[in-house]
Symmetry: C2
Subunit: 687 residues, 2 copies
Amino acid sequence: MTKHNIILQPSGSRGQADEGTSVRTAARELGVEIESICAENGTCGKCLVLIEEGRFEKYNIDSKRENVSPVTPQEQKYFESRPNLLKSKGWEIGQVRLSCQCKIRGDVLINVPEESRGNKQIIRKSASARAIEVKPAIRKYLVNMTPPNLERPIADWERLAKGLETSMSLVRGGEEKLPRWHEMSIDYQCLRTLSKTVREAKWNVTVSVWNDKEVIQVQSGLHEDSYGAAVDIGSTTVALYLCNLRTGEILAAESEMNPQIVYGEDVMSRIQYTIEHKDGLEKLHKAIIATLNKLLKESVKTANKNIFAKDGKSADKSSFIKAEDILEMVLVGNSTMHHLLLNLPPKDLGLAPFVPAVHESVDVKARELGLQISPSANIHVLPTIASFVGADTSAMILAEEPHKQDENWLLIDVGTNAELVLGNRKKLSCTSTPTGPALEGAHVEYGMRAAPGAIERVHIDEETLEPKYKIVGEDEWNAGKAKGICGSAIIDAVAELFRAGIVDSRGKFKKDLKSNRVREGASGWEYVIAWEHETSIGRDIPMTQQDVRQIQLAKAALFTAARTLLKRNGLESPDKIILAGGFGSYIDKEKAMLIGLIPDCELDHVYAVGNSAGDGARIALLNIEKRNEIDAVTRKVERFELPTDPEFQNQFMQATSFPHMSEAFPHIAHLIPNRKADPMAKKFAVK
Amino acid sequence: MTKHNIILQPSGSRGQADEGTSVRTAARELGVEIESICAENGTCGKCLVLIEEGRFEKYNIDSKRENVSPVTPQEQKYFESRPNLLKSKGWEIGQVRLSCQCKIRGDVLINVPEESRGNKQIIRKSASARAIEVKPAIRKYLVNMTPPNLERPIADWERLAKGLETSMSLVRGGEEKLPRWHEMSIDYQCLRTLSKTVREAKWNVTVSVWNDKEVIQVQSGLHEDSYGAAVDIGSTTVALYLCNLRTGEILAAESEMNPQIVYGEDVMSRIQYTIEHKDGLEKLHKAIIATLNKLLKESVKTANKNIFAKDGKSADKSSFIKAEDILEMVLVGNSTMHHLLLNLPPKDLGLAPFVPAVHESVDVKARELGLQISPSANIHVLPTIASFVGADTSAMILAEEPHKQDENWLLIDVGTNAELVLGNRKKLSCTSTPTGPALEGAHVEYGMRAAPGAIERVHIDEETLEPKYKIVGEDEWNAGKAKGICGSAIIDAVAELFRAGIVDSRGKFKKDLKSNRVREGASGWEYVIAWEHETSIGRDIPMTQQDVRQIQLAKAALFTAARTLLKRNGLESPDKIILAGGFGSYIDKEKAMLIGLIPDCELDHVYAVGNSAGDGARIALLNIEKRNEIDAVTRKVERFELPTDPEFQNQFMQATSFPHMSEAFPHIAHLIPNRKADPMAKKFAVK
């Protein structure tokens, strides 16, 4: 295979790439991530790069445009429909390329503009300190085995099992029905080292038993603590909590970007990738397993650092945790993440009628998945509920417990897809709706994830129409250089555009306003939030008519889903709204209600609970009864599939308008002081 | 690594070997097996080879004695104590070498004399046609799944499980308590391909369920048959039966030598090998797994050949069996074979107090052991009973059913180690005793396995003292060229020497007999069975005083073990004696009783049942209730450990004599017509 020299700027990364490799892939192999959200279809334009021409003495290469493959019709089309972009930057087609389309044919120096760079995200998820009753699946017992002798040379396992029966009844006698020794089993990998361990231990061992039936670890001497990990695999972020299974304490919380993101930003692109590439599933599966192993390793390091910090230099080496001391993991994620984790082909999740391989919870040995913890450890994956209502929703239910309430609660997990659960102790209903990536900052002209440089808050003065904005990582308003707009600021901006009267209730820009920020841009009317000089990308950052439209579609989908659930259950509004997920925590709930993203409700009764899915995973890790509880609850949840609802299209069209009027949404009426009730109000009211 | 050219004669095998490799190892790598029964300790002398000197033009090598490592003190000692051997063959030390001791240093041509060649043995084990009630762990159900639609997009597994619940109750309704759909599970590896299979099958599938609880195979369309394998892993021979799990029919019976034999002939040498070599266990484990995979492959080939032969050329391709259609295996073997199969360190089986890792039956997935059948298949290993009473004895009990008798049965499995089980429906007792390898032809000067050239029957005329003998593979008596003596002929010879009055009741050769066959040889008195010219090894084949002594020790051990069991249970003799194993099938039961190998009993009540362990494995494969039965029975078997019995040494010494007298052994009194009752008779009688 012919190799070519590749230089990436501004990072200065260099190395070699095989002839025919795409620039994006070559960059990834050199450690430079380039954005993409269209699964390398050449349509999103997030991956654009510049092919620099010239002789670069420092690197001893001649870089030429002809050293990459010719511009494709796809690229031609993409750039020709954006003359403004080319003009404002002074770029020409052939110099600027979509890195997913253009292939290496010779030596090149490539410039990756800031907006294309896939930086490591600031991870916002963190575990809440929530009281969980600790009843772990793993229990430890000290067992003094009867040593064998020539009179009674009974096998090691049988003497261990009999000793264990005695220890269990001493520790838990009378508590419940305990198994007899011959009703217990020992994991095969654990059996393999049993004889050696019990002799080294001089017959005095600590036995870890899973679910009162399977011995999964035998340690020499006394060990009180055992460890487990709860994991929430989001499409974007993977969050892992290392816990002490005896105390319930969180010893470390680690997170990483989901590495599958390079194969496609949203779940549909990833499903597509597995369909189009023969080894696609294997790649996506191995990527998440590798990240889980990395997080496990890091969490152990962090936990040991904390132990050291607590005990000072005298810390006992024996109290340090090793990865093989992790005896159990509970994982949650949406249905696609669930399938990719378990190496199940997600193809049919992506094709009508959108069917998962399995709903029930799955138990599998760590070694089957290649997870580098105790080889005898069990992995528990929470049940999925419907095609697009996954194990993360099960975890959310477990954490928030709507099934134990008298009131009707509405749980919403907002992302590219939104999952909704409504109900109380008598009955739960659920549905899901694609909201598009707009709410997370994608498909919005300057949208981005909540990473450094992202505008995360926007306020518009309704007199001057001048904005204030806050950037991620900056303490002050209007400080720092903006790179784009993240989800929470997009909601803010749309709400503020509407509240300040810049757009009307149908979402249309008003054209007679006295502000140079409201202007007709390349792709229609827009409002400039940050001027070119306030940014790090050298261009004005506006909210465009198209962006507002994207948000209208997203919020209409979410609102219609919520209203359908309410109506089907004969309710006008929920008693409480619970917003889960990182997005829920960072949006301004007033503004979300103002644009009609969520149904009307007392603002005090709208809660943002953060990473509820992660909490649910942790609850299931620490309390085995909760696993049975959620298995039973999810088996009975009523599922509504929205596309089959005849009213859906009609409701959806109506819901694209901004409601906010006092009649329909009394709880946010005070936010819109200066305008009369909108004629749309009545139409929009919940009937 | 320096390589040298190696030629092996008479096979003509040639190739290269690394500097420092032992000649035996080098030969093995070139496909030439050389005998050894001392685990390469340089003591058994079975592996001797000749280093030929000279320039061999044909092979273009100069072969010299100096091209192998110098004679070791061990070899010097071995050959110096056998001057007769050197003299008779005209060999000198340095020319003749122990191939396990001598290392390659240069090019050599090596001559492997016939007696050292480890030919592939004639396998005598074959499955008996025994009626077994077929109640397999695997049952198949045709399931018509409800296809998913947008209204009810339920996951594949849940629709399959619900359909399965319906099919199960249709097929077996009222028969017993059947599981509900959510009480069933699906093996992880089976789940991985589920979505693809059910769609290809257009929702019409055959589901294989293990033990009424775990789905382990889903096939497109209707499939009636499923397959399983029962395996008896002997120290010497591995026998595998491929069975149709629906009909119980044996589709193929294959056997191979246990490949571990190259690491040591008996179990103790193999245990020793795992202790002395860091990768010893891994090697022995991988060797048996490789052989099992080979046998599985061969059995499938044989079964398909039979199907083809039965149906003629019209045989439907779809009825051909594939290895991945094998859905279950049941394995048995002695405790050491059991440990090596399961990759459990057997170290403590070889050291007092001789403790196995586990007695209980073991269930493990085929994929955990690398067995190349269905990855979801379960492997069931029958329970072991005591240190040297293994899963093969459990299988023997299951096959012969002493626990269902009113009479007292004595089961004996004779080998290097003998296992004995005595009792009836009220109680079973067991013990074991090392009998040494003499009964299998090892540690006997000209002993060998039942391979071509082995004398298998001996008769001595009590008037002329002339012998008749029969050789394995020959139809006529006194025909063919003898190479050595196998187990059954060794029993015959000793019994005949005694019956003809050549040795006395203490086993001593009489010195005043008029026969040139009775003579003082290099290592003491001996009786020549075959003269030099009647052999293929160019030497007389005698039974020596030492050989007779070896058999006396072996039979004393076996007899004492049997008598101890009888006495402990207050019995004088058993109602029936059942001899299991290949050895039991080929010995002459009268002669065995004549030398006191087995206790006195009506000759009609002595049965040779052949490979009873293999039958037991097959029973457990075909009938899942039998697994629970043998688990329960073995948990209650009383174990006697002979070395702890105070009477053992005393009894043992007495039992070395030949009993045979009418008082003690009335049932064989007629065989010894011409002599008076021996004064030892009373001493020897069972009290």
